[in-house]
Amino acid sequence: IVGQGPLSRDAIEEIEMLLLQSDVGVKATDRIIAALQTKIRQEILPADQAIAYLKEILRDILDRPFEAGYRRDFAPKKGVLNIWLIAGVNGVGKTTTIGKLAHIATQSGYRCLIAAADTFRAAATEQVKIWGQRSDVEVIANPGKNTDPAAVVFDAIGAAQARGTELLLVDTAGRLQNKANLMEELKKIRRIIDKKAGDAQIESLLVLDATLGQNGLRQAQVFAEAAQLTGVILTKLDGTAKGGVALAVVQELGLPIRFIGAGEGIKDLRPFSSFEFVEALLS
């Protein structure tokens, strides 16, 4: 694309294809291309400057939540109870991400606890317990089958408050956003957290799989309303998927992306960087 002279019509088409193939989506791509073309017409930009401007457009979309009041640096507040509710549809990487977060927390000297609130899926509790063991973090679970997940959360908060825990990670069952009863269950979990730990620092994070297509926006809209989301974690970026739907999620819901999951190992989680994301998106 980058050659001599202004950005050609072919080059614009190529950029459009790249965005579409990265799951940015038709509407978001149209908006981005329109913004790019307006700038090019106004300032007769040569190709390399046009690409630089495109990256700026994309980074601005991703950074806008920070201009709207979200802090850029994201870490639990020391010395108080922080509760991070981890939610999302089935199979996106919630439990694995909690394993990774527990590791970072203990490495950074936080007292950490995990609530195993997926009481439904086969071996869900066993899975999160193994993750807890890997960073020496205790997992609060209820032994009975099909226990109410809200009860586990309630007990875990009680334990966290009693022990002076600094970070309580709440693992929840995967749930599709069109299942009204499951979204009600998530609302109830959020209510319990607000009620029993009203003075805690609460974060509600949606885990999005980078391989996800346009349904990701719908997921975010429904989960935002049910769980009062405060951020997004984007997983599986070690694959070939670019996670472009995250742009629409950030743009339409104003939520910041907090972490990137890039692998199945305990260390494969890093803070989100809009620069890194945009470079990878356009590569």
Binding site: D23, G93, A122, Q214
Partner: protein, 292 residues
């Protein structure tokens, strides 16, 4: 929906007696937009549009039928045809056991589908043995054992310290010994760009020579559905696919990508988390869903 969009694109066709290269352009663009919004891969969508264009050009505009509705029918029929057969049966090896290998990316629903297939086979009076070769994911073997117990189907496992190839091999030997009709081998999720893991999958396939290799794909997969299908098909070879989580509200364009890239049938769809939630694939239903 596509119907409303085509209505306006179709004003140019009123009073025409043929669908031509010119009057179809805008309509084709609308179809392309609809397919992209439904997560059909861009290249797959382009190829499909070309297919539609060729079917539509020269078609007589049927008197009494609105051109946009006629065009939608052309698109719908083309999509149904590409989506392939309904009720494409599972392989049935002679002599038994039939060997089925499950494959796919992380978190797509392979382990759940393994148990769902076993329950489905029981309805056809076919006994099953499940084999747990995911030695990587924490409690993956526990998960399959728990599911097996729920449906009273035996699970063969050798813990997490044995190679998946060896577990698969011994699992098939066990199936022969038990005289079961079918053995289903669950595998770990893997990236198609992970050379080592793809080699492992190819080695499992080589060792057990399955009658059926099923790619398990999440219905909400975006553009990468085409690329991952191509990689799995070229490096391992698949004989069919299972599309999961269709109880969600995603349009499911990944189905068209999987089908067009591999040429293999989508045999089943997952429509829920419970073990009973498996249905045969109906191309017309998925076609309507993709077109919105």
């Amino acid at each position: 929906a596509l119907a409303e969009r085509l209505e306006s694109a179709w004003k140019t066709l009123r009073g025409q007696d043929k669908i031509t290269e010119n009057n179809i352009q805008e309509a084709l663009r609308e179809v392309r937009r609809a397919l992209l919004e439904a997560d059909v891969n861009l290249q797959v969508a382009k190829d499909f549009i070309e297919n539609v264009r060729q079917r539509a050009i020269g078609a007589e505009v049927i008197a009494g039928v609105r051109p946009d509705q006629q065009f939608i029918k052309i698109v719908y029929d083309a999509l149904v045809e590409v989506m392939g057969e309904s009720h494409s049966p599972l392989a049935h090896g002679e002599p038994p056991p039939t060997i089925i290998l499950m494959a796919g990316l992380q978190g797509t629903g392979k382990t759940t589908a393994t148990a769902k297939l076993a329950l489905h086979l029981r309805k056809e009076r076919r006994s099953t043995l499940l084999v747990a070769t995911d030695v990587y994911r924490p409690a993956a073997i526990d998960q399959l054992i728990t599911l097996g117990r729920q449906i009273d189907v035996p699970v063969f496992e050798m813990g997490t310290a044995v190679s998946p190839v060896e577990i698969a091999r011994q699992g098939v030997a066990k199936a022969k010994e038990l005289g079961v009709d079918t053995v289903i081998i669950d595998t770990a999720g893997r990236l198609q760009i992970d050379a080592e893991m793809m080699a492992e999958l190819a080695a499992i396939k080589d060792a057990v020579q399955p009658h059926e290799t099923l790619l398990v794909v999440d219905a909400m997969t975006g553009q990468e559905a085409a690329n991952l299908t191509r990689a799995f098909h070229e490096q391992v070879g698949i004989t069919g696919a299972i599309l999961t989580k269709l109880d969600g509200d995603t349009r499911g364009g990944a189905a068209l990508s999987v089908r067009q890239v591999s040429g293999q049938p989508i045999k089943f769809i997952g429509v829920g988390e419970k073990v009973e939630a498996l249905q045969p694939f109906y191309p017309d239903r998925l076609a309507s869903r993709i077109l919105g």
